[in-house]
Symmetry: C3
Amino acid sequence: MKSCTKYMLLLSALILGVCGVTHAAETAGTTLEALSDVQKYERAIHIMAMLLVGFGFLMVFVKKYGRSALTATYLLVSVSIPLYYLKESFYGIGVSEGIIDKMILAEFAAASLLICAGAVLGRLKMGQYILLGVLFVPFYSLNEWIVLNGGLGLISGKVVDTGGSIVIHAFGAIFGLAVAASMTTQREYKTPIECDETSDRYSLLGSMVLWVFWPSFCAALVAPADVPRTAVNVILALCGSTIATYFASVKLRGKISAADIANATLAGGVAIGSTCNLAVPGTAFSIGILAGVVSTFGFAIIQSWLTDTTKKIDTCGVLYLHGLPGVLGGIAALFVVSGISFGSQLAGILITVVLAACSGLISGKVIAVMGRRLEPYVDYEEFEGEASEQEDGQTCIVATDPV
Amino acid sequence: MKSCTKYMLLLSALILGVCGVTHAAETAGTTLEALSDVQKYERAIHIMAMLLVGFGFLMVFVKKYGRSALTATYLLVSVSIPLYYLKESFYGIGVSEGIIDKMILAEFAAASLLICAGAVLGRLKMGQYILLGVLFVPFYSLNEWIVLNGGLGLISGKVVDTGGSIVIHAFGAIFGLAVAASMTTQREYKTPIECDETSDRYSLLGSMVLWVFWPSFCAALVAPADVPRTAVNVILALCGSTIATYFASVKLRGKISAADIANATLAGGVAIGSTCNLAVPGTAFSIGILAGVVSTFGFAIIQSWLTDTTKKIDTCGVLYLHGLPGVLGGIAALFVVSGISFGSQLAGILITVVLAACSGLISGKVIAVMGRRLEPYVDYEEFEGEASEQEDGQTCIVATDPV
Amino acid sequence: MKSCTKYMLLLSALILGVCGVTHAAETAGTTLEALSDVQKYERAIHIMAMLLVGFGFLMVFVKKYGRSALTATYLLVSVSIPLYYLKESFYGIGVSEGIIDKMILAEFAAASLLICAGAVLGRLKMGQYILLGVLFVPFYSLNEWIVLNGGLGLISGKVVDTGGSIVIHAFGAIFGLAVAASMTTQREYKTPIECDETSDRYSLLGSMVLWVFWPSFCAALVAPADVPRTAVNVILALCGSTIATYFASVKLRGKISAADIANATLAGGVAIGSTCNLAVPGTAFSIGILAGVVSTFGFAIIQSWLTDTTKKIDTCGVLYLHGLPGVLGGIAALFVVSGISFGSQLAGILITVVLAACSGLISGKVIAVMGRRLEPYVDYEEFEGEASEQEDGQTCIVATDPV
């Protein structure tokens, strides 16, 4: 127990120390600039609604794990945002970005982390989500730096990825899959993931909140004059994937599935990310339709086949909502954006996939040191009888002997 | 099944073809204009929250039909917005409106469609909601053109309807009632619409989301300097209808009804629509009180009487939340706005009522060709046993032999 | 029954009469000013989401009282906002504040009232919530005037309280505790407050909505150039309290508690209120951590001890979420803000505590005249059998013989 407190204090001290110097350097700006920053702030709030209410409630579909899913969401967001903001404040000195830009970039990191956590949802102890966040942020930042900011000089040209199809969605999904690959147990494989009417309706609430605010996610850092066209493209892409999901779900399953409707409807938003400010409406709509079909095909056909083949569980199906549509979006840019560098774009996708897979595997091994839950997909309240022991284990981030 | 795919491709191709030319014509605008457009965009997002989370969850009050109600909401929005946007892009060439204005007008059409669908909720196959959307948008656009833009030269003066009491709320409600009138079955009449504690709480969530963002709905296309007064008027009208609903509910029913609280509280927002940017606060508050009383009277007294008399079902009671308060709001403008043209305003209301009723009856007949659900108010998951047959039927939009 | 209608008409007439004169005095302003006002309006909508969806659903944790908690939220907001707005319009003549500033101040009053109502949730008749609102607003306004605007000349210097740690959170909590102190019955003391999986998930929804929009609450009236730094401070404080709540909950209880996660996570937002636009990020984060620990300690340790000692019930634990963190935030300003007047700040806190306690006790006595519910924490639907009698009593605001 003492060690936990120590780690917490260490983390706090670190953030305190470095963040303490930041705000003073900010100047007020002209009024027009200030108003533009406030508009970015509005979008930052929209993204926050997506992170907590959107991702959080989308994951409540697991019937008996709702409170834990929401608690995990709270922790993942609260760990990753200060960590990323710390990194930005430390390395970002001299960069012209305002503080609201840094906050939005931190939210992007949190979004990617939540996607990642979806792959192992219900199978980590609560403290392991925190550890996952601590491990994820540096790897995410490294990939972002290499792919978007020319880090290490690996990519010479510009990678087109305004709304993060590649660096946010695909990276998070593949990282999560790698974590899941390195730790799924036989018991988890045999435990069915149950949902019911009420948990489905909560999940659809999360889905709708994501749908509604998705335009603000994609347009968060776009120039004011480009916001309307970006928003229209994202909305049309989401409309496309929603319609396509319905038809594909009925076609492939012979019936409507609440899981498809809650998830694959959003695939258009994932896939339009890379080109959200560059596509024309018709293209955006058709990218959405394509993404909806691919995603529904994933949930309806690939998921059960892949689970049986690999004996690994992807709890929320992040491969089908974020992984495949994310890569699709990155590739779509090759056909949509004139003058795009094919080599850079493909290198960006490839590096993201490889880096996410490797860092996810490493992180999975580290997390496994903390041990595992005995019973997957069960809320923390269920453990009350054995709680004082059980939960102690959860809090000790580096305990080698998980109780 | 082949025909369904064909229809989907046709729809897609149409939208692709015409939308493909739009964005290029947009110019960046000065910075002040750009910022003003971004503010419109913020309101467009608020309206989207109303459409999906607000209307969607308000309709979850039907206990066993929650997932279907949310799926239907997704489809209605995703069909109507691209369709309307297509129409605008086609006919709107040369019009000075920006793309974000077009998107907001498309959202208005979607709102009216969702109101319409409330009247027949739980009694259409999922594919029939899509057909309803395809039929609704042209009629809605026709009425909007005639009443607000002088189409066909039927109305010479200006109709006052900023927030759409007449053209959005009344039109949608009456269209929906006409659809319901042309297709309610004996079986539906005898099936009670059940709700429970959890479905009621979801419904109140939808209600509150609508309440919260209603000012953005009414102020969506208002000039920046008029936004504050419009917002204050809408909030005061909603406060008025909320207080009035409580007192009227207790007075008329002898107890509080969750249905009244979820619905009639919003009547103030419906009724203030026409005059939201023109009224003074006291007037707005009193219009809200009046609308709350009228709406609660509708739910508590008229609804059961009218159902017994006509043997027709209005699932969500759209007549009492949108129909009567909408007409009330249109008429209130006669007393509130100085210099208003009585003839034009009354003609606008009359044309809306007649056009909605006629086009709704026609649409109901067309929709009926696709057949009917055997069991009303039951989620799609319940049909799993017979799904492969059942749901195929749902997707064939013009199938003459509904399975 | 007649008397109820009379009171309603009286209330309406009052508001109508005075509000009727307001809007005309408003001028359009330059475009830059207008855009800035629209941005305030955006934050006003965010606050409204907190009031209805946030506070409303946070209170749905009481299993059988969910619909009533939401109805009460609707009524409390709808009574307090017009009342406060009326006061502002009456006394505020000549003041340079725009109408959107007045609306935001009215929302602040509503927030404080909702906090207050949390202390007695489930134990008032519905009509008594209305009376509570009518009594609360004048006392709240008096305290605001004395502490922030130099009323009565009691405080000479400036009290630092931008986001309302003192005048909104502490005032509301202590007022509510005083009301609860003057009326908790033996029966209520013996009735357990039950919650279940579904009510907990609703409660976490309310919690997350509050978390997400909290930056807009604190930055509502801040100058555009200060909005980003304020937002970052609030977000970091919330991250701090969220992480701290998790560790403290496990440490103090030996397990995770959904009540802690839904409530104490927000303590950082409460405590950063006073200094939200002045602190540096590291300080904001540490204030959040401290508030999270204090709040969790309150819920986990103090609450049961205090309940047993005093035999009084604080239904939602407002002392631990709003009372203690609010005072903490006010005191933190002494260490954070350079050049602060120690005397004024401490006087502001002291006056708020004393005035809230006294006015709460008085209000409790007045409310008690309307009688009490026989069965606490039970939804209004449960009373249907005896409703026509029972609920009549609820509406008669000054009935001396509650049925």
